[in-house]
């Protein structure tokens, strides 16, 4: 049993009586990739700021690398790499200078920080943009630069808050590739996301967070196994008929979820359930059989979709 690098116990943050984070507990092992999955406003970013040692907790316990961030903020932060939800690069400086000034904040000597910056630009596939203005970079490039900046101090733990939100699919894949390399090389990742595919790609283990509390914990596969079926059948009968059809086919599959635009039928064999529906004389407008995802887990746990 490896010792944790992050331990949170009943961690709570209140703003004027409202608990943004309401007593959550988790721990993260060295080299592990750990995710906080939840919708906007679930308290993920607040949790990240507390772990990042920039936001003091209201109550509970928190230990990063065996240190209390309240007392050892600078020490804890010297070991973290932080990729915030919205990039806060310095627009007044050029790409390479952004890495250099940031490296200096960790006390990296001027003679070393330049070499480090160049290596990281290479890693972030930005070498040819070293002298560009930050403003001229695309969203995906800015994100990669932010990640490169977060790595300037060889962090023990990398905190990523919604790393690919707002990026186009291609930019997301480039970014995932870079993050995956970090993971392979043993960097501990703590990331928040409201994308299931991202969580499934990057997380060894995750917690599902909603309204400041943890709803479930486990690996993506184990969560799907525990809270959902192997397959999901999606059928559409038109927005007026969906609810009515759901009553008619009650008993088909393990469970039926009625969404405004479609029905989800949970079963280990989607095709068989579809055959039973058509046999009953019902003809869906469209049908689709897919593997269960974390979205289904979330729906099961909260009764709501992740992305509204």
């Amino acid at each position: 049993m490896p010792t944790s690098v992050i331990t949170a116990n009943l961690l709570t943050k209140e703003y004027k009586g409202f608990a943004a984070v309401d007593g959550i507990s988790f721990d993260v092992a060295p080299g592990e990739s750990f995710g906080l999955l939840g919708p906007n406003g679930a308290g993920k970013s607040t949790t990240m700021r507390m772990v990042g040692a920039v936001s003091t907790r209201t109550s509970g316990e928190l230990s990063i690398l065996g240190l209390d961030p309240n007392e050892h903020g600078p020490e804890v932060r010297s070991q973290l790499g932080v990729v915030p939800q919205s990039d806060n690069l310095d627009m007044e400086l050029r790409v390479r200078d952004n890495l250099i000034v940031y490296g200096r904040y960790f006390g990296i000597p001027r003679s070393e920080v330049g070499k480090k910056a160049d290596a990281l630009l290479e890693f972030a596939q930005l070498s040819d943009r070293a002298k560009s203005k930050v403003d001229d970079l695309s969203g995906g490039m800015k994100r990669r630069l932010t990640i490169a900046r977060a790595l300037i101090n060889d962090p023990r733990i990398l905190l990523l808050d919604e790393p690919t939100t707002g990026l186009d699919p291609q930019a997301r894949h480039i970014l995932w590739d870079r993050l995956f390399r970090l993971k392979e090389q043993g960097t501990t990742l703590l990331l928040t996301t409201h994308y299931m595919d991202e969580a499934e790609q990057l997380c060894d283990r995750l917690v599902v967070v909603d309204k400041g509390s943890i709803m479930a914990e486990g690996s993506p596969a184990s969560l799907i196994k525990k809270y959902s079926t192997r397959e999901v059948l999606e059928v559409r009968f038109g927005s007026e008929r969906n609810a009515q059809v759901a009553e008619q086919i009650a008993g088909i599959g393990e469970r039926i979820e009625v969404l405004p635009d479609r029905l989800l039928i949970y079963s280990d064999n989607g095709e068989a359930e579809l055959a039973r529906i058509t046999a009953a004389g019902l003809e869906p407008m469209t049908s689709l059989v897919r593997r269960s995802s974390l979205e289904d887990v979330f729906l099961r746990l909260t009764g709501r979709s992740l992305i509204e």
Partner: protein, 298 residues
């Protein structure tokens, strides 16, 4: 660019991935060591960053810091002085020329102008349009160090500006006593005291509603005009003199005059001229640190 076209730096890792190899005790020890330099030198790192940003404005900064003293000293110390000295005689201004009288005021004004410029937009930008303060704080830098770093960077602009100003004053023959060189320090103190008071306000601003323009129009401009800069404060009607008393610019200017040509004033007033800007610095510094620290800790 296509996906996975380049392999990046996989062969030579750009970072040290030994995290998993470290024991908990070693990781903790590394963190304690990692905090030492940022705790000690963090303020200087922030200043270094700010000065790096100023470099893109270097040309105008240099041009202004040489051009402004030439223009002001010529316009007021030579042009306007010709009217006054004709009217009152060449030493009719309390025994000295108008040029010698007005020069210390212009020196202090230059410091105040630079301080006002550097403590308004850069302070507000760091939270808002170019939110670098959050980035610094995610690194081991504390809110207090951010404020200290800003102050150091502002001084790094004020002191050379004042030194150049003083050299131009010498060229114009506007300084009677060698003690006048201390005017550089006095002016810098005046400037930074104004800068810190402004920072204690601009660090609070959440939304730009033209507060900067208001600071200039109802703060800096009246201070410049009513602080006994162009004429002795005593020539103002009594109901306007209070502006001078509370204005760091008046205190700095009067002290500059004592040093530059030995203007006479009671000792307690000289002490006040030093103590008052220092008090403003202390107040502004502490207040700004409090605001910045609170604002970062969301």
């Amino acid at each position: 660019m296509s996906i996975g076209q380049r392999s990046g730096a996989a062969a030579t890792p750009a970072f040290d991935a030994s995290a998993s190899a470290t024991t908990p005790a070693e990781a903790k020890e590394l963190a304690m060591v990692g905090g030492v330099k940022p705790r000690r030198y963090g303020s200087w790192y922030v200043a270094e960053h700010r000065i790096r940003s100023m470099r893109s404005y270097l040309q105008t900064i240099v041009a202004t810091s040489i051009g402004n003293p030439l223009v002001y000293l010529f316009a007021l110390g030579v042009g306007l002085a010709s009217l006054i000295d004709t009217n009152l005689g060449p030493t009719g201004f309390n025994g000295i020329s108008y040029l010698a009288f007005v020069a210390p005021a212009l020196l202090c004004t230059a410091a105040v102008t630079v301080a006002a410029e550097e403590s308004t937009y850069p302070m507000m930008m760091g939270f808002k349009w170019n939110p670098i303060f959050y980035g610094m704080n995610a690194a081991p830098i504390t809110g207090n160090q951010i404020v200290n770093g800003m102050v150091i960077s502002i001084l790094a602009r004020i002191i050379p500006t004042c030194a150049i100003y003083f050299v131009v004053m010498l060229l114009f023959g506007a300084v009677a006593s060698p003690w006048g060189a201390l005017g550089i320090l006095v002016a810098s103190l005046t400037g930074i005291s104004v800068g810190l008071v402004i920072m204690s306000y601009t660090s609070r601003i959440e939304e730009d509603k033209g507060q900067m323009a208001m600071i200039m129009r109802f703060g800096i401009t009246p201070m410049f005009l009513f602080s006994g800069t162009f004429f002795s404060l005593g020539q103002m009607p009594i109901y306007l003199q209070w502006i001078g008393w509370i204005s760091p610019l008046w205190h700095g200017t009067e002290l500059g005059r004592v040093l530059s040509y030995g203007a006479s004033e009671p000792t307690w007033l000289t002490v006040l001229h030093i103590a008052y800007p220092l008090a403003l610095c202390w107040f502004g510094w502490k207040a700004t640190q409090r605001v910045v620290t609170r604002r970062l800790n969301k």
